[in-house]
């Protein structure tokens, strides 16, 4: 595989290689000179058709710390708003000599299409409601750092699973790495095919919490909601929000995660988000490290060190 498009296509060995590489790279972030010369002369294009702050900046920081040249491209104010197609944009980037394209797109499957048009590596930075593999990798990395293992870990993923590419990527990756995932959501916010996913499903957050080692809260994606999936924000929050009382039901070592951006007071209360057992801020830092590992393993050698096929 020259590309990282789905967390599902990573083998256990590939996933562990990425996490172990990130572990070593984390030591670089602690020193005064954070830059490594490894990707000098390589060009990474950030191709963002959807708004994003942390993912784009995270990829940019990761590429720059490896000395790659970074070109940022956002659809707003570009030739895309003049009607250029994804394919023509891709060919333009190809002509500019991009070694890797990091793409965020509103349509599921856009990175997969892109990969058939360009010679460089394609990294999926979130496509529609499909996948967001580097988020799943950084989540797994954050869990392993805090709890020391992934095998047998009980992970509850709570909230808007239907619109969440983060949930799908996490279920696939965590299953590969031996963790047990339970999705918790109202029936209206679960995708129709969820019974085919390698995980458990529950509608009752209070029953799941006492057994969980990790609780991952998902953002309610109001911008993708074109119908009423629940009666009111307040009712959603009462049944599926993580507040102080629910937080108290977790066992003492359990951690709380959120991929960001958060709706404080909706899916997570401010008190829980700021608690020492929340990894929300450290997930951001870990994101840079994990993305450095991915870029290094895809671009660092004569050929990619992870995956096969495509």
């Amino acid at each position: 595989m020259r590309h990282l498009i789905s967390a599902g296509e990573l083998s256990r060995d590939d996933a562990l290689l990425i996490l172990d590489t990130a572990e070593e790279l984390a030591r670089v972030s602690d020193r005064s000179i954070k830059k490594l010369p490894t990707l000098r002369g390589r060009t990474v294009v950030n191709l963002f058709f959807e708004d994003s702050t942390r993912t784009r900046i995270s990829f940019e920081a990761a590429a720059k710390r490896l000395s790659a040249d970074v070109i940022n491209f956002s659809a707003k104010g570009s030739s895309v708003s003049k009607g250029e197609s994804l394919k023509d944009t891709a060919l333009t980037l190809e002509a500019m000599g991009a070694d890797a394209v990091v793409i965020r797109h509103g349509a599921s499957g856009a990175p997969h299409r892109l990969a058939t048009w360009v010679h460089g590596s394609v990294v999926n930075a979130g496509d529609g409601t499909h996948e967001h593999p580097t988020q799943a990798l950084l989540d797994a990395y954050s869990m392993r750092r805090r709890l020391g293992r992934l095998e047998g870990l009980k992970v509850a993923v709570v909230g808007d699973v239907l619109h969440s590419r983060v949930a799908r990527s996490n279920v696939l990756l965590l299953h590969t790495l031996g963790a047990e995932v339970t999705l918790v959501a109202p029936p209206t916010l679960l995708p129709v095919s969820v019974e085919t996913w390698p995980c458990q499903v529950s509608y009752d957050l209070d029953a799941v919490l006492p057994k969980a080692d990790v609780v991952m809260m998902l953002r309610v994606q109001l911008e993708r909601m074109n119908a009423s999936y629940f009666p009111s924000a307040r009712e959603y929050s009462r049944r599926y929000g993580l507040d102080r009382d629910r937080f108290a039901k977790l066992h003492d070592d359990a951690i709380v995660m959120h991929p960001g951006p958060m709706n404080r007071g909706m899916e997570i209360s401010a008190e829980v988000a700021d608690s020492p057992r929340s990894t929300i801020v450290e997930q951001v830092g870990n994101g840079v490290t994990v993305r450095m590992a991915v870029l290094y393993l895809l671009l660092g050698g004569s050929e990619p060190a992870i995956g096969g096929g495509a």
Binding site: L17, D20, T21, E24, L25, R27, V28, R31, I33, K35, L36, P37, T38, L66, Y296, L297, L298, L299, G300, G301, S302, E303, P304, A305
Partner: protein, 185 residues
């Protein structure tokens, strides 16, 4: 086609390696006048093990705890693009860093000198040592860069067709240096 048969013979056995490291430890003490401000940095994997052994010996001889660590050079190699990206080794610097210290780099085999060049680049990014020296268990010649070792366990004349393989107790279960000849018959 020709049959390729590997002939390996041990050029250093356990006791030889032991004696060579003991001598190097003494030489480091002598050259650095008591190893007061010395840091030993091994290049993973086997260089890091050798650095720890040298530190143990210096502690035995002088009762002095020399800071010891490891320096991974993978990200600084000049041949990265000739092979698939490889897994990283561990960089572990002593808590007080290397600024103003005499760094002794430790590696198992000195060959082209390219690993040491990469190590010098890597050092540049982690601090500013007062001086850098190089210790190697085996110097097999064929340098491609103007680099030489300050402390050598054994000078081993080799041809480029031969391979030198170092085995260490902590990693491989035994101590030995093998010279492997690939002979075409």
């Amino acid at each position: 086609m020709s049959d390729v048969q590997n002939q390996a013979h041990a050029v250093l056995e356990g006791p030889d390696i032991h004696r060579a490291l003991t001598r190097i430890a003494h030489e480091i003490l002598e050259r650095t006048k008591g190893a007061e401000s010395v840091v030993l940095l091994g290049i993973p994997t086997r260089g890091a093990t050798l650095a720890r052994r040298l530190a143990e010996r210096i502690a035995q001889f002088e009762g002095l705890k020399v800071p010891v660590g490891s320096l991974d050079i993978t990200m600084y190699r000049d041949d990265l693009r000739l092979r698939p990206a490889r897994p990283l080794g561990r960089t572990e610097l002593p808590p007080d860093g290397i600024d103003g210290m005499t760094v002794v780099l430790v590696d198992d085999v000195l060959y082209s000198g390219r690993t040491v060049r990469a190590a010098l680049d890597a050092l540049n990014d982690v601090g500013r040592p007062r001086a850098v020296q190089l210790a190697t268990l085996v110097d097999r010649g064929h340098r491609e860069l103007p680099i030489r070792a300050d402390y050598v366990g054994k000078n081993l004349p080799t041809s480029k067709a031969e391979k030198v393989k170092v085995y260490l107790e902590e990693i491989d279960g035994r101590d030995a240096v093998l010279l492997i000849k690939e002979e075409a018959r």
